[in-house]
């Protein structure tokens, strides 16, 4: 282990788990009990039978802590596989956001213009509001929300990151 062991890094970790009662509590309890950071966490079943769920957790820490997080996740009984996408190479990270903007007049026009530029879709509209749906990296959603703030940003709902490695290699 290098002496530069105190440098922090972010890690996007994919975890395949048995889709059983309490499995998410185990993962979250592990992070809180051992004092690790959770920047975001998403979970949903991903196989045809619904028996396997995929958790994507974005965390940060020193190299030693991130190695520890992976090892601790891997020894949970219902965990099938742990993969550090950040370490393992090129990967895609996406987040879905639903963004409500409320306003009238020129602000509505401006909101639509910006949404177009960011490739956000209008999924709900009233005479005084829009709900935009957008997908992208967290930074893109952050930027969009920042632009919407002065023109009527009312509410944001975000999924947190989901991620997958580029190329033909699968995780299971």
């Amino acid at each position: 282990m290098s002496e530069a062991g105190n440098a922090q890094r972010a890690a996007t970790i994919a975890v395949l788990v048995e889709n059983e009662a309490g499995v998410l509590a185990r993962v979250i309890g592990l992070f809180s009990g051992r004092g690790y950071n959770i920047d975001s966490l998403t979970v949903a079943p991903v196989d045809e039978t619904g028996r396997i769920s995929r958790i994507t957790v974005v965390t940060s820490g020193t190299e030693m802590v991130i190695e520890q997080i992976k090892a601790q996740l891997d020894r949970l009984v219902p965990v099938h596989k742990v993969s550090d996408l950040t370490l393992e190479g090129p990967h895609l990270v996406r987040e879905l956001a639903l963004i409500k903007v409320v306003g009238r007049g020129e602000n509505r026009v401006e909101a639509l213009r910006l949404a177009d530029a960011f490739r956000a879709r209008v999924v709900d509209a009233t005479t005084e509001s829009f709900v935009f749906e957008m997908t992208g990296a967290a930074e893109k959603i952050d930027a969009f929300c920042a632009l919407m703030r002065p023109i009527g940003l009312a509410e944001v709902s975000r999924t947190g990151a989901v991620a997958i490695a580029r190329g033909p290699r699968g995780l299971s």
């Binding site: 282990m1 062991g5 788990v17 048995e18 009662a21 309490g22 509590a25 185990r26 309890g29 009990g33 030693m64 190695e67 520890q68 090892a71 601790q72 891997d74 020894r75 949970l76 009984v77 219902p78 965990v79 099938h80």
Partner: protein
């Protein structure tokens, strides 16, 4: 497959209640004895227990003791210990025992009753969120909500408890699941879908380790409880490896007995109250081989000064133990026994020569450290030194030659037991290492005695710790378990007192054992024998009387009240900053504020 070869499958099995399925599954997993305490939610299991003879039930007096007893049973036999408690308070009382088993990697399966499934979440009488509470207290836990899952879950629980790094598993059983009919399937079940720990070490890592070890000038083998958990063969292989290489060997508190203490290669226990030679050998080594130990803070002292100029090899069955506290150079994931077998094999075939000459210089250095005689104490006069009491206990049991098992409570007496009682075989020493649970020793001794009815089982205790589970004297009486409780009575929570003396200006805040019971009368009221020894001249006779008595005994040994446990590495200090007994006057210099924060 004919019905005759598999009588318990499907059709026929639906004649069994859930409770009967549970007991059948326990039996098929080799359970002979279960430690428990009844209550409303588990009445169906108690009813089924009443109607069978395959499994013996031991009625404890508190659920915490049931788990410790199962731990004692497990640690002295290598089998999985089994516990049965009711819902709510039964389960919450068991939690301390479960965490104890988790910290010390002891295989235990604990069945807890639960309110019926339709009442879960309704704050019903004696309802607790047992799986929620025990999630961080166990290796894994289950709530059985379907009768069809019952048999599989029990089989799986035993697999999880004993595989990889062992640990406690809870199965929460709602009362309706126990009453309703349930199908039974025999073990073994299909391979676990997700939990398959690696036991076979990687050959390349083994080669790297052997190359480092062959070139070592100042090597040390540091072996822990993982060697004991890997079974007696692993201890035999450890002994073979150490003798073959000529290396010095130290054991952790949990590893005592993995290597024979009377072997000249043994340098004693290491860590906070380890020997001078073990700690200095750790500090000065150039290659360290850690097998089945976890670089616990009691062992390492200040991390940035831990074995500063060494290459470290760490073999552990749990990958999360590796590089957790101490970064290592060679990581080997595997069962301690397999690792040792592979190391021995590779040592024999690897060409690189071993320079025995440099080893001689290392041993000369170690022998010089040994001349400090760091465990020396002065027994003079009538007042019994606690060290002397343990030493005489060891010598007398050795002379008698009976199979002897030692359990302890937690505190000074525990450390003196570790320092002055020698262990030549594994599974003879049961102590609460990781969690440090006062009240562990008496129930653990019960479990050991159940497993080894003819052996001599001694709980080396302190007068404060023993009171934490003293109610178990009733269990000893009921089952005529001849456990000996050997109390080093200094009228203090001695380790608390020692820290207050050394680190808190001698302000003995709440550490005096006031209003102690008369232990002789206490023993007698529980149908046991009571002995009190106050004079050093009577010590041997007291020990012999205790051992000779065929039933349970409390031997209350009045010892020096202000004796401290040395050597000691104060919190936040390094191995080479150890304080020895002769330095004890005037307190400890050099404990930093940072050190005081540590426990």
């Amino acid at each position: 497959m004919s019905a005759a070869t598999k009588p318990a499958s499907t059709e026929a099995a639906l004649t069994m209640s859930g409770a009967e399925v549970v007991l059948r599954a326990l039996k098929d997993n080799g359970v002979e004895v279960i430690f428990g305490y009844p209550g409303g939610a588990v009445l169906p299991i108690y009813d089924a227990l009443f109607q069978q003879n395959a499994i013996r039930h031991i009625l404890v007096r508190h659920e915490q003791a049931a788990v410790h007893a199962a731990e004692g049973y497990a640690r002295s036999t290598g089998k999985v210990g089994c516990v049965l408690v009711t819902s709510g308070p039964g389960a919450t009382n068991a939690v301390t025992g479960l965490v104890d088993a988790l910290m010390d990697s002891i295989p235990v399966v604990c069945l807890t009753g639960q309110v019926p499934t339709h009442l879960i979440g309704n704050d019903a009488f004696q309802e607790a969120d047992t799986t929620g509470i025990t999630r961080p207290a166990t290796k894994h836990n289950y709530l059985v909500k379907k009768s069809g899952d019952l048999a599989r879950v029990v089989h799986e629980a035993f697999y999880v408890a004993k595989s990889g790094r062992p640990g406690p598993v809870v199965i929460d059983l709602p009362k309706d699941i126990l009453i309703n009919k349930a199908p039974y399937t025999e073990p073994p079940i299909a391979a676990h879908r997700s939990y398959r720990p690696q036991t076979e070490p990687d050959a390349e890592q083994i080669r790297k380790a052997v190359r480092l070890l062959k070139a070592a000038k100042r090597p040390i083998v540091y072996a822990g409880g993982g060697v004991i958990n890997a079974g007696p063969e692993a201890s035999r292989l450890l002994t073979e490896f150490v003798r073959m290489t000529g290396f010095p060997c130290t054991n952790t508190l949990m590893g005592l007995g993995a290597f024979p203490s009377e072997d000249p290669h043994f340098v004693g226990m290491l860590g906070m109250h380890g020997t001078y030679e073990a700690n200095l050998a750790m500090h000065g080594c150039d290659v360290m081989l850690n097998i089945g130990a976890r670089f616990d803070d009691r062992v390492t002292g200040r991390l940035n000064a831990f074995a500063p100029n060494s290459k470290k090899i760490h073999a552990d069955i749990d990958p999360s133990s590796i590089n957790k506290n101490v970064p290592v150079d060679v990581a080997i994931v595997g069962d301690a026994g397999r690792v040792l077998a592979a190391l021995i094999e590779c040592w024999k075939t690897e060409d690189a020569p071993q320079d025995k000459h440099v080893l001689t210089a290392w041993w000369r250095q170690i022998d010089e450290w040994r001349t400090k005689d760091c465990l020396r104490y002065r027994q003079s006069g009538k007042i019994i030194k606690p060290q002397h009491a343990v030493k005489r206990l060891y010598e007398i049991t050795k002379e008698l030659g009976r199979e002897t098992f030692i359990t302890t409570e937690v505190g000074q007496h525990q450390m003196w037991a570790a320092q002055y009682f020698g262990f030549q075989k594994p599974n003879r020493w049961m102590t609460s290492g990781g969690l440090g649970t006062m009240g562990y020793g008496l129930p653990a001794a019960m479990g050991v005695q159940i497993a080894h009815p003819d052996a001599l089982v001694i709980d080396i205790a302190g007068e404060a710790s023993i009171l934490m589970n003293i109610q178990e004297m009733g269990t000893l009486a009921q089952y005529r378990l001849p456990v000996k409780v050997f109390i080093l009575n200094n009228e203090y929570m001695g380790m608390v007192r020692q820290w207050q003396e050394l680190l808190h200006g001698g302000r003995y805040s709440e550490s005096y054992s006031a209003a102690l019971p008369d232990f002789v009368k206490l023993a007698e009221s529980f149908h046991a024998k009571g002995i009190r020894v106050t004079d050093a001249d009577d010590l041997d006779a007291g020990i012999r009387e205790m051992i000779a008595y065929p039933g349970p005994v409390i031997a209350d040994i009045a010892v020096a009240k202000d004796e401290n446990c040395f050597p000691m590495i104060p919190s936040g200090a390094a191995h080479n900053e150890m304080i020895l007994g002769e330095d004890q006057e005037g307190g400890v210099a050099g404990v930093t504020d940072e050190g005081k924060v540590l426990v």
